[in-house]
Amino acid sequence: MVFSSLFFLYLFLPALLVLYYVCRKPAFRVWLLIGFSFLFYAWGEPVWVVLLLSAALTGYLFALGIAKSRGTWLAKALYIAAIAVNIGILGFFKYVSFLVDNLNAVLPFQLAEPHIALPIGVSFFTFEIICYLTDVYKGTIPAPATPKNILFYVSFFPHLVAGPIIRYRDIEEQIEQPQVSLASFSEGVTRFVIGLGKKVIFANLLGEPVSQLLQPGSADATVLGIWFGVCLFALQIYFDFSGYSDMAIGIGKMFGFELRENFNYPYVSKSAGDFWRRWNMSLGGFFRDYVYIPLGGNRKHMVRNLFVVWFLTGFWHGASWNFIIWGLYFGFLIYIERQFLGTWLDKLPAFFAHLYATAVMLIGWVWFYFTDLKSAAKAMLTMFGLYGREWANQELWIYFKENLLLFVIAIIACTPLAKNVLARLARSFPQLENGAAIIGNAAVLAIATVLLVGSTYNPFLYYRF
């Protein structure tokens, strides 16, 4: 199930809210959320519930063992085994097909295609279990979790399928006593509605011209068309992903849970490093705390550590070479920024740093968008006028005009500008502030609903004849 669906909005969420607020016992509430979380997860692919459940339970058992044998070799052995199990799960479901494809390309004989489907959320919950086990092993979590707590930590549906990647420490106390209050509920409502609007109004509408402008291998591609398409895609993926995180955080608040923030206006960055401190922060934080620093961080083998972390960051996004290139590209930029580029950029007016960051990020998105390397390379060449394409054509001009308003508003909305303007308006018209916010939230929910119903329109036509 996804948050931005009619079924979730008008059946799942209301039903859960009623049951949750009818009963006031914290333990019941937590079990209710666990139950609904498994229902949420089981919705599309019920069989994977078994995977989620066994991942959580092995995590629980390993943690018990590690805590019991703390300080001995056994703890270390158990910890290594536990990490291996989780990496194994992730590797098996996500990367085996990729490995076989690549081996088949170089081996003299052919391995059979494995045909493994990717269970949703596996990239997130395995990482969360790794966080938990590492913290237990290092002693940052003094006592291992109860089965109830670990189930809740791993399965809580707002963050289950697309993050943010939370830490057990963050929510341990909250599980015992969810911080339910009207104020936090109301905040959650606003946050959820903002996220819904980002996803349904911005991301979905931006996605239509993107798929038309960035068609792999299209003969109609133009220089400016690719640039425009990539700009739209950058906006689309930001609104999609950050909208999802906003909805997750908002739903968490409605039930009295605080989840960590995941985005902080990534497109106002001044460097590649800055971008990654603002984009998918919970993932960046994971790689920093559980990979980069344990490897030695900046102190020893920095180049190797950067390489490992950025290779993994790219590879985590998908089992395909383009994501690896995308990750290493950022790793390289961050390395040269640390060596010298950062100090250069600091000396220039801020405008140039923004320009640099925006350009490298857009070029990065080209490698993220095209999963096939040939198409990515063609698009790159086209963008720099090296592929013999026209600058623009009539079709591009039509796309530009018919999306212009959305494009401009989206650019403003992805910076703190919109927020600042609203805050200033609120100061100038204090008597209207709160009323306008309520009407605004209701309007966004209504518009999103209308667009969601609209997206179910599916005419049965012979378009071609």
């Binding site: 509408l205 709160n434 036509l461």
Partner: protein
């Protein structure tokens, strides 16, 4: 009205919950008589039947979810409102131009990149953009040539490619967004073997380009457009076309066709088409299907509202197979291998043939050469829209469903 912090918190939560629970309750309580969605020409999802097997495969959840969204309260009004809202994303201008891409989602199709169609909407008119595929043209010509070689040499074979409205737009900047259909068709006609005659409907239509020969909200030509194409066929086979004034004429207003249904464009909605139809003299019988149905009219305004859409005025819509017996005993028996462009065209042929068989390769399965032999066919006409020059899927239909590649169907 000044709201203090406390009442803001309360009202914000309450208004959200009101919408959620209000619409949610409406949905649960509302009487859902799903049935047919006229606009979408499909049956809306029904209450799914439960089986454990479906539950474990996740199918039950998916069906339940599509049932829920297909039968959402006020769905059809909200769908229209959604289309209007989407229209606000561009420059606020009158007569805004837009491009919308849609895929063929019918059961018999496998949507690939080239099977998608781009609708260009300007001046209250929608056209589908045309991209020539030389490979598609080659396969189409080869299929017809192979077929011609496999039948009695005395059977006359014709190919008529019907251009789409994109070719005749007044404004060259929009016209040039498509490849030239004239060049594409000529390239295909040139590849036809000796004994297969290409019929240049394009030129006939071009001479009348300023007339109402194409619908604006539908991808088909009008009966008038089909008539001009018919005169070109008559010229080629050396017969005199019947004059339009001999027909009883009627009109149906308020026609919103396939392009509107695909795009829900508000500029199309506010400028519906008018269908003008020409009723041929009676005295013929028209039956559909292999087992003979009761005789029907080839042009009948009643079909407009009978569920298949207004264009069904002509031949009653698309069927796998049809047969018209005209009562003229001139010994000429024609089979038309066609797509829906032929529907408005075929009624004009009645005075010229003793028998007209209609075969739609999208849904008919059977060997065409055998059909020609068994039915003692004298003339074969392939009448196709520009789709045949745009994607190889049309040639593939001819080969697989009609056995035209020479292999058994």
């Amino acid at each position: 009205m000044k709201l203090n912090k406390k009442s803001f918190i309360l009202l914000n939560a309450v208004s959200f919950l009101l919408i959620l629970f209000g619409l949610g309750a409406f949905n649960l309580l509302g009487t859902h008589s799903a049935g047919l969605s006229e606009l979408e020409q499909r049956n809306l999802a029904q209450t799914p039947t439960f089986t454990w097997n479906k539950l474990f495969k996740g199918e039950y959840a998916r069906e339940l979810e599509s049932y829920f969204s297909d039968n959402f309260v006020f769905r059809s009004s909200l769908v229209q409102a959604g289309a209007e809202l989407k229209g606000l994303k561009g420059l606020p201008e009158k007569n805004g131009v837009s491009i919308l891409e849609r895929g063929d989602n019918t059961a018999s199709s496998s949507v690939t990149g080239s099977d998608k169609v781009k609708y260009l909407i300007m001046n209250n008119q929608a056209v589908t953009l045309f991209n020539y595929s030389a490979e598609a043209g080659k396969q189409y010509a080869t299929a017809i040539n192979t077929f011609k070689a496999s039948i009695n040499a005395n059977v006359r074979v014709y190919s008529m490619l019907a251009p789409s409205a994109a070719a005749f737009l007044d404004d060259s900047k929009y016209r040039d967004m498509s490849d030239s259909q004239k060049d594409a068709f000529n390239a295909i006609y040139k590849q036809l073997a000796k004994g297969v005659t290409g019929i240049d409907a394009y030129s006939a239509l071009e001479q009348h380009r300023s007339e109402y020969i194409y619908f604006r909200t539908d991808h088909h030509w009008t009966a008038l457009g089909a008539y001009y194409a018919y005169t070109q066929l008559m010229k080629t086979i050396g017969e005199k076309p019947h004059s339009l004034s001999n027909y009883k004429k009627g009109t149906i207003t308020g026609f919103l066709g396939s392009s509107y249904k695909a795009t829900l464009s508000s500029s199309l909605k506010s400028h519906p088409d008018t269908i003008t139809y020409y009723v041929p003299d009676g005295g013929y019988t028209y039956t559909i299907g292999a087992k003979k149905s009761a005789s029907r009219q080839v042009v009948d305004p009643h079909y407009a509202t009978a569920g298949n859409g207004y264009y069904a005025v002509f031949l009653g819509g698309d069927f796998p197979q049809g047969e018209i017996l005209s009562g003229n005993e001139n010994g000429k028996r024609l089979v038309v291998v066609k797509d829906s462009y032929a529907n408005a065209f075929i009624p004009f042929l009645i005075p010229h043939f003793e028998e007209i068989d209609i075969i739609d390769p999208r849904t008919y399965k059977g060997n065409l050469a055998a059909f020609v032999k068994n039915k003692k066919i004298t003339d074969v006409l392939f009448l196709n829209s520009s789709t045949a020059a745009r994607t190889t899927s049309w040639a593939q239909l001819l080969n697989t469903n009609l056995g035209m590649s020479g292999k058994k169907a």
